[in-house]
Subunit: 250 residues, 2 copies
């Protein structure tokens, strides 16, 4: 009768990066809905029904979650990272807007999480320490021309840039084109960070110059950070520290 | 002898948005260093020394923290939000780079947190559900011309835009200029969100059209989100939901 829907971010992988707010919502939930590997991160317990689903069915999944909440269930839709950044929150609101009017009366909350670029930046130092942008390189959902235009303007604005979903098996060429565009428009020493599966046992982090970057360094578990022209490297024993200064000289 | 330095994000205000990783670091710390109101958020306990300092002394504060860690203390530098987003991490690395070489051998970690734009976006719906950027409107640290250029290019790129530090008593005119620029370049119905002190007892959230926005709606505790041209409002009883669709038609 008093159902609700929480769209929750599980962070990048380590349970120590899950907020207590999300943990509390999961403890009260009757149903967990999401992509298979994210639902698998939630511990089983009596009374909790799991609804894992495959990739690319985000709208069906959202409709299921909204329907369950409408029936009085306490539903958590899980995303990795932050649900509002290239994740489930926008999909749920798309489904809600197109759905029956009574869905709008539901108790719906979005519970933020640590998104991939912030986890990656923290591991590297502070590469997003000045103005920055986040671009989803997947062209499943938008024309490549849009990706390219945004990337060009971001470089012109001298943002640090976070590239989400840089590369998948089904579209290996997009990230190669993005690298070509970076090579055309940035100096060869531009700092790049390839951060894969940060905070999980599979974590790897590579700090390199643009001139050394190849598209094979990224996959769907990688977020790629491109420094601004001001981004600096502090050499030291082991992996260097990377940061973008807060200030720009007048 | 085995000192360390953690640069930690306390999130936007609610303790339920502090990650367990940050809580654990604070529990092991001997010293907490930071801006007065953020240090005040850390509970006192025997053996914990607090070093609160005022605004605009970020480099001095960083040097103190690095020196303490070098002396073998376990030091947490606290920021609100995420330490890597317009906060203390870049300042610490600036101080480290300019400081004595032995500082580079320190055990330094950055612990991510929920940054203001993600907390604000979650409250509003999913306004950052597609490509977006974050711009610090403070011109203490960079020329206004840079702010304006980035804002123009961001609008041209059709990003959703998060504006941090939009307005302070010492520089009331910058945000007014930013609003003028938005009025020149965006349609009057462009969605804006003024999110103040999200997750604290002082929280307020206002969703309005650009044509209704005035500079007095923002202060230093406000993050302002500007939708992209695709950002949508779902009307309902009470506050509407705001989201930016994941996809762009080809």
């Amino acid at each position: 009768m008093s159902g609700w829907l929480a769209i929750a971010g599980l962070g990048p992988g380590d349970d120590r990066l899950v907020t207590p707010e999300v943990t509390a919502a999961l403890a009260e939930a009757t149903d967990v809905v999401g992509y298979i590997p994210y639902v698998a991160r939630v511990a089983d317990r009596p009374g909790l029904v799991k609804h894992p689903s495959d990739n690319r069915v985000e709208i069906d999944r959202s409709r299921l979650a909204l329907s369950l909440a409408r029936q009085g269930r306490r539903v958590v839709v899980v995303s990795s990272g932050d649900p509002g950044v290239f994740a489930m929150a926008a999909a749920v609101f798309e489904a809600l807007e197109a759905g029956p009017p009574d869905w709008r009366a539901l108790d719906i909350r979005v519970l933020p999480g640590i998104t991939a670029m912030l986890a990656a930046a923290a591991r590297a130092g502070a590469p997003l320490g000045h103005d920055f942008c986040a671009i989803n390189l997947s062209d499943n959902l938008k024309p490549w021309a849009t990706v390219e235009r945004r990337l060009r303007l971001s470089i012109e604005a001298d943002f640090a840039i976070a590239l989400y979903n840089p590369r998948s098996a089904s579209r290996p060429e997009g990230f190669e084109r993005a690298l070509d565009l970076l090579r055309e428009t940035c100096e060869p020493t531009r700092v790049m960070i390839f951060a894969r599966a940060v905070s999980t046992p599979d974590e790897s982090l590579r700090v390199i110059a643009l001139s050394e970057a190849t598209s094979g360094m990224a996959d769907m578990r990688t977020v790629v950070l491109v420094g601004s022209s001001a981004t600096r490297i502090i050499p030291r024993e082991g992996r260097p520290l990377v940061y973008t200064p807060r200030s720009e000289p007048a």
